[in-house]
Every structure is written in structure tokens, then in C-alpha cells.
């Protein structure tokens, strides 16, 4: 914001509107004196038409000459016209011409001056400050209106043009000063961010068409209201001067109300509410008042209608238009601001006035009929305003690549025809196709209501798939159909699955036939044994062990049944735990054992699952991805027994699950910030992919959002506290120093180290992302598409500065009711503010991020050099602090003289240069120098490919060695590490492979 230019501009528009209102009051009084009140409607038509014509002319001139040259000439012209107006009238110039010319000229000047004020502010500053500049405009009108009304009585209206001329001279001086201030301090509102388009794109053209419709309709409604009100005033105030005074006083009074709104409510409205809300206020209240007038015709209702229209046109509609135009590049924005307000709106007004005049007195003789008709126009206006607001949201988000998407249906729900195709593919000769089909089938669900009629399908593979689905999700209503289908099933595989479905439903319908068929088929015999033990008991633990290898899903069901039956047997749980422990060490049964523990317990085995999850074992993650709702509920109840690393792995793995909403909901409120953050990302994935989000609706999302907000505020407070410490001397008497002295602690009054400050900045950015994910999840739980908000979060956290500010505006449009979120994010985007006398950064952070608090308190000082060095390569730039710290603690420091590794040798590690330099030689290319902070050998942590170059030290160098296992362990905790590595590889690849760019 250019503060000096803004203040000069505000003074300029105040004086400018004083001129405009003073001249308008004089001119209309002269018109009435010459032609009588009955000709006022023609004045409306002529003024509106004159304004539109003058605006078009201004547009044409400013497309050839710069506004900074044209505007001062116009201001001077207004001043001369004002000073000469009384003389011109005496000389016989037509009052009509004079009125139209003065009004048009002063109004065009007003538009031009407004563009100059708007050039001094941009973005959210514009939303906050332009309404206050509008208040200055209104103040000018109040002074002129009330003053004119007061002065006209003793001195006559002839004093007004001379006052206008004098004020014009002030306006001219201010305009010149403001132009200089803009040149010296910049014009943020008139400068496009680098790399942005200068012309209107398709979303902006659509927005413009809606804004034109709104401007026309607004002009029509305003004219009808004005004419009705003027007719009412004429009937009350018969004398010319009385009428003029009444009009001026009313004008001044409404401006006083407007002034109050512009200073207080409107700025807050523009930075907290979405545009559809803001744009709806004006048409809605006009409809309400006009409806009241239609029901109870009278001066009060009509005055209320006109006041609402006059005040809200400038308070909300004009500001909504200003906000909408912010989606345009600066050039078209300034141009269309003038055209919409000076030409399009007045054109609508002139058209309405012309129609009313052609209708004659009958138009105002039936006021309620006219009011009803106008209400109809207002409804259309309201719809257009809403459409314009929606198009603004699209135009605002478009440059960030954010667009609303079609609602996704649940991809796991399929029709029978699809199931038939997929089961056929599952038996395909091509292994990859068959694997894909099986993976698709594993997630698929056919509507149970249609399932029953297809259990006797012609294809055995289809019958098998349907039986398998019934085994996964027993449906009591289909029990009889299932029994009947299994009774006649001839295919061994389908029969086995049918028997499983019956057994898991507690039905022994297939057993008898199964026993006889089992003699001929090993698979059927195995299923019969499992079914018998499930239904009748027996060697349950042995069967669980066998099923861990053959059919983990059945093992889970069997364990649940067994635990229910032996709930009172203390020893049974220990025996089960022993059986599972044995199975878990067998590679063939480990995956099944972990799946059983995850879904069915017992709780005593959770440490085993915990250990596997923390290590990132694929079978443990698969167990989480395969959780059903009962398993998710069990883990949710015992989640406190799991370590943060395990809970983090669960939160991420649930993104691949089709169920598990209850567990996810529980993790949303996790005390560990990494876990909560991961749970929020997964909740968003659930919502974005069309999966069932009914559990999310019941989840403590509000609490998760509050926690995210509190964490962000704490990080920002810590940032401000650090800024204060940076300006505080050690012996200053501050509460922090006194507290430390009382505790016997060293005087921790120095600011954070560079490393801690950088980690705080990164963690704060992570808090912003977490807050945005929470807002997106809340949006999803409310039944709306969270994708735009999630995409905005990425731009907000990772985008360029202009994109981040635009993203914040998009957040305002998309979020529902959490206005405090906007203020906090805006605080993040501004530099820190030193706030002396408060708590230390570590104390502020401790409740939210224990690791970062320790770093800020200096407890991890020995780790800081390695941490700082690892932050330098782009590869590690966005890795979460605790994960990077773990990597740093496991990396090995080596001193290198001579060769580090040779070309063609097998690589096992990557190296980060901490001091000195390395040289990479790959003939025939010249040697590449890698300075401190650079990385070599990255490919070795991903592939076993031979080294591409020979790397030697240039003298003596020190490196951090990160081997493949260390990197893999860190990557399991921080996937962004692999993203960073991929980005590095992509950078090397990009120039040569546009097909994968």
C-alpha cells in the first residue's frame, strides 16, 4: 500500500465529491427554476445519457492519451465550468444543457479520481481501505449536501458553483501531489504481478457479462425508486426552494448513514464475507422495503426504500463491484470500472426513465403496481448479482489453477455388469491385467439389494465374487438366497466362498454338502474345516494360524467370534496372543497375523503392530488399508497404546482404505501435530474421492480446526516473541528475564538461532497447511466439494507471493464462517511484529510442538549444525523438522581427500557437502564443482545403478553420508523427502523429455 498516495487520494475524492454534489444541487435548482418540477424526469434521462456519453468519450480519450495528462485537464475544466456557470445562465445558455454538462463532467471526474485512489492500494489492503476512501467521498457529499441545504436558504443557490470552483482548485492540487506520490512510492493497485496476463481471459469475460447485467438492472431499479421518491417529495414540498432544500437535506442525511457504514461495517464485511453474501445485501433489502411499500404505501416505506437503495448501492453493491473487478488485470480493471459506473449503469437508468416518461403520469399514479413490477426486476437483479459473484470466485481462482470439479460418486460402488467384466479380467492370461482386476474387485461393492438375484449367475467367477462380497459384508436379508445358491453350487472355488459367507453369517447350511465334496477338493476341505471351527468350535488357535496364510479375512472373523465366546476366560487371550506371535514371525503368515491384530486384537498384541507400523512394514500398512469398520473402531479405542510414529503411519495408510472413518475421526484430534496433520490430509482424500464421509460429519472437526488455529497462533506468537528478543538487550528488565532469574535458568534473552528461526518458519508454514486442510475437511463434512479449498491451501503454502495473496482471497470466498482464520493467515503473510514483555518462543510452542520448543530453548544445540547443513539442498528444504533431525542424527560425517567414489562403481549412499568442495568428472563434460550445501550421488539411494561420474575432493572436504537404509527410514516418516528427490531428478530430466515434463 502507498500510504501517502492513499491519504492524498482520499482527500482528493472528498473534495471531488464536494464539487460534484455542490454543482448538482445548483444545476438541479436552476433546472427546476427554469422548467418546473414536472420536467425533472427528463432531467434524469438527460443526465444519465449525458453521463454515459461523457464516460464513453473519456474512455476513447484515455485510450489515446494517458490518464495522468487527461485527468488534470478535466479537473480544470470542471472548475472553469463551475465558476462560469452563473454567468452562462445569465447569458442565456440553456439550463438543461448546463445541468447535463456540469453533472456529466463532475461525475466523470469523480470516476477518474477514484481510479487514482484505487491505484494506491491492492489485494486485501484494497478491500480494507477502499471503503474508507469511499467514506471520504461520502463525507464530501455530506458536507456539500448539508452545507448546500444550509447555505442556500440565506445566500441562495448561486453561491454553490463558486464553492465548487474553489474546491476544484483544491482537487487539482491534490491530484498533482497524489500523482507524484504514486510515481515515488509505487502504484500497487495499477501494477500487475510479473507473469500475469494483461488482457481478459474467458472466466473474466464471463464475469464481465454478468457485471454488465447487474449494472443495467441496478440502474433501472435506482431510477424507478428515484422517480417515485421525487414524485412523492414534489407532492409534499410545493415551493422550488423548499423542494431543493428537502432534496439536499435528504441527500445529506442518507450520506451520513452511508458514511457510518463505510467507516465501520463495510471494511469488515469485505475482508470476512464471501462475495455472494456481500452482493446479495443490496437487492435483498430493497425488495424488503419495496414489499413493505407495496403492502403499506406511504412516505416512510418509500423513504426507507430509497435510503436503502442509495446507501447500499455505495456501501455494498459498489464495493462488491470493486471486489469483482479485482479479478481483472489492472488495465481492464480501471477501464471497466469507469465504463460500468459511468456508461452501463447510467444507460440502464436512462432507459428506465425514458420508459416511465413515455408511460406518463400513470406510471407513478399506481405506486403499488409499479413497486410490484420493480420487485420482479429486483429478483432478476438479485439472481444476476449472485451469478456475478460466483463467476468472480471462478475468475479469482482460475490463475491459480483452481476450479470446481464435478461431484465424484463413490468409485467402489459398481453395477453387476461391471462386476462381470472385472471377474472375467481377473482370470486373464496377462498377469498385470489380472492383478489390476483383482485389485479393483477387492475395493468393489455391488448394491446388496440387487446382489441376491444374481447369486445363481451363469459364470462361476461372478458367483465367487458375489459370495466373497457377502463374506466381507454379511447381509442377513439374503441368507435364504445364499443358502439356496450354495446348495446347488458346483464350482469348487465359488462353493468354498459361499460356505465361508454362510459360516461367517452363523449359518451351517453348506456344511453337509461341503463334507462330501471336501473329499474330492483340498480347497473345499480347507473351507469345510474353517467353517466347522467357526460354527462349532475346536482348534480355533490352530485354524487362526492356518488362516493367517490362506485367508486373513476369515481369520479376523474367527478371532472376533472366539474372543466373544471366551470373553470371561482370562487365559484365552494369552493363548491367542501366543498363537498370533508365532504366526507373526513366519514370513508366510506375518501379513495375515498383522491384519488380525489390526482388526480384531487382542490389545496385548498391539505393540507388535506398533513396531511394524513404525518401521513402515508394507504388510502392516496393508493391514490398515484393509481395515473394516469394526477393526477401525477397535483401533480407535486403543489408539493411546500406539506410539506417535505408528499413529502417523495409520493416518497415512487410511487414505488407501475403503472403511476406517471412525479411526480417522479419532486421529483428527491427536495430540501429536504430525499425526493430526496426516489425519487431516487423509480425511480430505476420503472426501475428495467420493468415499463415504458420514463418519467425518460426526468427527470432532471443529475441535481439529480449533486446535490447528491455536497451533498457528502460537507459532506466530513465537515468531513475534523472537522479533522482540532480537531487539532486547540481555540485561533489560523483562518478565522473561525475571522468570529465568527466579528459576535459576540462564538469561535466555537472545533471539533464536538462525537454524531455530528457520525451523520455526517452516513449522509455521506447516501449521497454515494444517489449518487449511481442517477447513477443507469441515467443508467436506458440510456436503460441499473440498477440492478447491485444498488446492488453495497448496497455493497458499507453496506459491509465489502474489499467488499467496490471491489464494487468501480465494479462501475468503470458499470458507464457511471461520472469519478468524483469515485474520490469522493474513498475520502470517505480514512480517513479524516485535511484542516485548511476553513469553519466550519455546514456552509458547511447548503445548503444540514439543520438538520445536526444545530446539528454540537450545536443548538441541548439538544437532543444529547438521540440521542447518541439510536444509541447504532443495531436496530437504520442505522435510518436517523432526524427520530431518532423525536423518541428521543417523547420517555419518566423513572427511574426504582424494576420490569419494568412481564412475561405474556400485553406489550405496548419497553425500551432502558440509565444508570444502567436490569435483564431479564425467568425460567429455567439464568437471562440475559442488560447494558446501550441494548433494552428490542421489541416485544411489533409489537404484543400484552404477555411479554416473567420478567424484573427488578439491583439497579436503567434509561430507554427510546418508546410506540407502537411512534414507528409506527417513522417507517412511517424511514422504516429502522422496518428493524432493523426485523433483531433483525431474530437474535433470526435464530439458530432454518434454513427453514427461
Amino acid at each position: 500500500m502507498n500510504r501517502r498516495a492513499y491519504l492524498l487520494g482520499a482527500a482528493m475524492v472528498l473534495a471531488g465529491n464536494f464539487v460534484a454534489v455542490a454543482l448538482r444541487s445548483f444545476a438541479e435548482g436552476a433546472f427546476v427554476a427554469a422548467y418546473g418540477k414536472q420536467q425533472l424526469p427528463w432531467l434524469f434521462v438527460a443526465s444519465a445519457g449525458g453521463f454515459a456519453a461523457a464516460t464513453f468519450l473519456y474512455d476513447v480519450i484515455t485510450r489515446r492519451a494517458h490518464a495522468r495528462v487527461v485527468d488534470p485537464v478535466l479537473i480544470a475544466l470542471v472548475g472553469c465550468a463551475a465558476a462560469g456557470a452563473p454567468g452562462l445562465l445569465h447569458a442565456g445558455v440553456s439550463p438543461a444543457v448546463l445541468v447535463v454538462a456540469l453533472a456529466a463532467l463532475s461525475q466523470v471526474v469523480g470516476l477518474a479520481l477514484w481510479n487514482r485512489v484505487a491505484a494506491s492500494v491492492a489485494g486485501r489492503d484494497a478491500r480494507r481501505m477502499l471503503p474508507r476512501a469511499g467514506a471520504a467521498v461520502t463525507a464530501g457529499g455530506v458536507i456539500a449536501g448539508l452545507g448546500a441545504g444550509s447555505l442556500a436558504v440565506p445566500l441562495g443557490t448561486a453561491i454553490l458553483p463558486y464553492l465548487g470552483a474553489a474546491a476544484s482548485a483544491v482537487v487539482l492540487a491534490l491530484a498533482i501531489a497524489q500523482e507524484r506520490a504514486l510515481a515515488a512510492g509505487g502504484a500497487p493497485g495499477a501494477t500487475a504481478p510479473p507473469g500475469t496476463a494483461e488482457s481478459l481471459g474467458e472466466p473474466q469475460v464471463r464475469l464481465l457479462s454478468a457485471m454488465i447485467a447487474v449494472a443495467v438492472l441496478e440502474g433501472i431499479v435506482a431510477t424507478v425508486i428515484d422517480l417515485q421518491f421525487a414524485a412523492e417529495l414534489k407532492s409534499r414540498y410545493r415551493g422550488e426552494t423548499e423542494f431543493a432544500v428537502a432534496f439536499a437535506l435528504f441527500y445529506g442525511g442518507t450520506n451520513a448513514v452511508l458514511l457510518l457504514l463505510q467507516v465501520t461495517a463495510v471494511p469488515r464485511l469485505l475482508v470476512t464475507r464471501s462475495l455472494p453474501t456481500t452482493a446479495a445485501i443490496h437487492p435483498a433489502l430493497v425488495i424488503v422495503w419495496y414489499a413493505a411499500f407495496a403492502l403499506v404505501p406511504g412516505f416512510v416505506a418509500l423513504a426507507g426504500t430509497r435510503t436503502s437503495d442509495q446507501v447500499l448501492r455505495l456501501a455494498t453493491s459498489r464495493t462488491a463491484q470493486e471486489v469483482s473487478l479485482s479479478a481483472f488485470p489492472p488495465g481492464p480493471r480501471a477501464r471497466w470500472k469507469v465504463l460500468l459506473r459511468g456508461a452501463v449503469g447510467p444507460a440502464g437508468a436512462a432507459s428506465a426513465a425514458l420508459v416511465l416518461l413515455l408511460l406518463g403520469p400513470s406510471a407513478v399514479e399506481h405506486p403499488t403496481r409499479l413497486a410490484a413490477l420493480t420487485i420482479g426486476v429486483c429478483l432478476v437483479w438479485w439472481l444476476c448479482a449472485h451469478a456475478a459473484a460466483r463467476r468472480f470466485q471462478a475468475a479469482l481462482a482460475a490463475p491459480l489453477g483452481i476450479a470446481a470439479r464435478a461431484v465424484r460418486e463413490d468409485p467402489t460402488r459398481i453395477e453387476l455388469a461391471t462386476l462381470e467384466r472385472w471377474t472375467a479380467e481377473a482370470g486373464a492370461d496377462d498377469a498385470r491385467t489380472a492383478a489390476l482386476a483383482r485389485a479393483a474387485l477387492a475395493r468393489a461393492r455391488v448394491d446388496p439389494e440387487t446382489l441376491g438375484e444374481h447369486l445363481r449367475h451363469d459364470e462361476p467367477a461372478v458367483r465367487a465374487a458375489l459370495f466373497e462380497q457377502l463374506a466381507r459384508s454379511p447381509t442377513p436379508a439374503l441368507r435364504n438366497e445364499l443358502r439356496a445358491a450354495v446348495a446347488i453350487e458346483e464350482d469348487d472355488r465359488a462353493f468354498s466362498l459361499g460356505m465361508k459367507a454362510l459360516a461367517l453369517a452363523g449359518d451351517d447350511g453348506g456344511l453337509a454338502r461341503g463334507r462330501s465334496r471336501g473329499a474330492l477338493s483340498r480347497d473345499v476341505a480347507a473351507s469345510v474345516r474353517s467353517a466347522e471351527i467357526t460354527l462349532l468350535g475346536g482348534d480355533v488357535l490352530g485354524e487362526v494360524g492356518r488362516l493367517c496364510a490362506r485367508d486373513p479375512g476369515w481369520a479376523i472373523a474367527l478371532v472376533r467370534t472366539h474372543r466373544t465366546r471366551t470373553a470371561d476366560d482370562a487365559g484365552a487371550a494369552d493363548e491367542l496372543a501366543a498363537a498370533l506371535r508365532t504366526a507373526a514371525v513366519d514370513p508366510a503368515r506375518r501379513a495375515g497375523a498383522l491384519a488380525v491384530i489390526a482388526c480384531a486384537g487382542p490389545a496385548a498384541m498391539l505393540p507388535l503392530l506398533d513396531e511394524a507400523l513404525a518401521a513402515g512394514a508394507p504388510e502392516a500398512l496393508a493391514a490398515i488399508a484393509a481395515l473394516d469398520e469394526a477393526g477401525a473402531a477397535m483401533l480407535a479405542a486403543h489408539r493411546d497404546q500406539l506410539t506417535p510414529l505408528a499413529r502417523l503411519a495409520i493416518a497415512r495408510a487410511l487414505a488407501r482404505a475403503t472403511a476406517g472413518g471412525a479411526l480417522l475421526a479419532a486421529l483428527l484430534g491427536d495430540a501429536d501435530p504430525e499425526v493430526a496433520h496426516a489425519a487431516l490430509r487423509t480425511a480430505l482424500a476420503f472426501a475428495s474421492s467420493g468415499r463415504d464421509t458420514s463418519d467425518l460429519a460426526r468427527a470432532p472437526i471443529a475441535a481439529a480446526l480449533d486446535a490447528a488455529l491455536a497451533a498457528l497462533v502460537a507459532h506466530l506468537d513465537a515468531r513475534d516473541a523472537d522479533a522482540a528478543l532480537a531487539t532486547t538487550r540481555p540485561d533489560d528488565a523483562t518478565p522473561a528475564n525475571a522468570a529465568n532469574a527466579a528459576n535459576g535458568a540462564p538469561n535466555a534473552t537472545t533471539a533464536l538461532t538462525a537454524c531455530a528461526r528457520h525451523e520455526l518458519e517452516l513449522a509455521t508454514r506447516g501449521c497454515v497447511a494444517r489449518l487449511m486442510w481442517a477447513a477443507a475437511v469441515e467443508t467436506a463434512a458440510a456436503g460441499r466439494d473440498p477440492a478447491p479449498l485444498a488446492a488453495t491451501a497448496r497455493r497458499l503454502v507453496g506459491g509465489r507471493e502474489p499467488d499467496r495473496k490471491r489464494a487468501l482471497d480465494v479462501v475468503q470466498e470458499l470458507q464457511a464462517g471461520r472469519t478468524e482464520m483469515l485474520a490469522v493467515i493474513e498475520r502470517w503473510l505480514r512480517p513479524p511484529v516485535a511484542r516485548p514483555g511476553g513469553a519466550l518462543p519455546g514456552q509458547l510452542l511447548a503445548p503444540h510442538d514439543r520438538w520445536l520448543a526444545r530446539l528454540c530453548d537450545g536443548e538441541l544445540a548439538e544437532l543444529e549444525p547438521a540440521l542447518a547443513m541439510l536444509r541447504r539442498p532443495a531436496l530437504f528444504a520442505t522435510v518436517a523438522g523432526p524427520a530431518l533431525a532423525t536423518l541428521a542424527s543417523r547420517a555419518r560425517t566423513r572427511e574426504v581427500t582424494g576420490e569419494l567414489f568412481a564412475a561405474a562403481a556400485e553406489g550405496h549412499a548419497m553425500f551432502v557437502v558440509t565444508s570444502g568442495a567436490l569435483l564431479a568428472r564425467r568425460d567429455p563434460a567439464p568437471a562440475r564443482r559442488i560447494e558446501a550445501g550441494g548433494v552428490v550421488g542421489e541416485l544411489a539411494v533409489l537404484t543400484r545403478a552404477p555411479r554416473a561420474a567420478t567424484v573427488v575432493a578439491d583439497g579436503t572436504a567434509t561430507v554427510l553420508e546418508i546410506d540407502r537404509d537411512t534414507f528409506a527410514a527417513a522417507a517412511r516418516r517424511a514422504p516429502e523427502l522422496v518428493l524432493g528427490l523426485s523433483a531433483t531428478l525431474a530437474g535433470w530430466l526435464a530439458p530432454d523429455r518434454p513427453d514427461v515434463l
Binding site: 489453477g401 483452481i402 476450479a403 470439479r405 468409485p411 459398481i414 461391471t418 467384466r421 472385472w422 479380467e425 498385470r432 491385467t433 492383478a435 489390476l436 482386476a437 483383482r438 485389485a439 479393483a440 477387492a442 475395493r443 508394507p618 488399508a625 497415512r652 487414505a655 488407501r656 490430509r681 487423509t682 480430505l684 482424500a685 475428495s688 474421492s689 477440492a787 485444498a790 488446492a791 497448496r794 541416485l939 533409489l942 537404484t943 545403478a945 554416473a948 528409506a968 522417507a971 514422504p975 516429502e976 522422496v978 518428493l979 528427490l981 523426485s982 523433483a983 531428478l985 525431474a986 530437474g987 535433470w988 530430466l989 526435464a990 523429455r993 518434454p994 513427453d995 514427461v996 515434463l997
Partner: protein, 143 residues
Amino acid sequence: MDLLERARALAACPLFAELAPPVVIRLAERAVPRDLAAGERRSTDDTVWVVAEGSMAVVARGAAKLDASVSSMRRHGGTASAGHVVGLVRVVAPSTPVVEAIADRPTRVLALAVDDVRDVLEEDPVALASLAGALARLLVEGG
């Protein structure tokens, strides 16, 4: 294209060859098939394009004129035929130049939002490592 057909088209891409079937299925759930007529243009501003059938001439934005012909784009860039993925790198490196593509014949593509691809990869560390490994192999093979 149903889900399985989309998954098969994705699995045919060398870059996705190492991804586990469940990951490919999750990508396919988010993929939207599009049929492009010859001459239709697309870009990778916020979308990854997987060529299922047909081919497209591709070039980094700025390397050829905005209205460049197919042959001109091919001359300055390259060709993406069935099994090629255009714009995937922007998933991991957003600062990578946008690619302009034009179908040189009727072409069927799968559109994946960059954000969606990133989500799927971040959900699954193994998938992420597979992609990184595929990129690394491309580099090593000099392809």
C-alpha cells in the same frame, strides 16, 4: 472407459509400471477420459495427460509459438504416443515449465489433476519411491 480400462491404460505407461495394482486403481479412480480431435490443444498447467490411444506433439511453453503447428511443435519438442505421460514432472516439481500439447490425430487421453496425482503418491510411500525410481531409471538409461 470404466475403471479397469482406465487402470490398464495407466499401467501401460512405463512410468507407472512399477506401481502396485491398488495404487494404479486409486489413480484410475481419479482419471477422467477425454477424446481429442486432431488439432485439439491441451496444456499441463494443472493436469497430467496420459496418452491411451493416438499421439500428441508436445513442446515446453515458450519453445514454440502459441499457434505452432503439429510439425513445428514436434521439431522443437517431441511426441507423446500411447503409454506416455505428459506433465507428470510438475507433480513433483511445480516450477517445471508447462508443456503445450496438440493431438495430431484422434487421440484418447486420461486427464489427472496434478493435485490428485500428488495426493495418491503422498498417501503411499512405496508408490512415491516407485515413481522416483522410474525417473531415476529414465535418467540412467538416458531415455
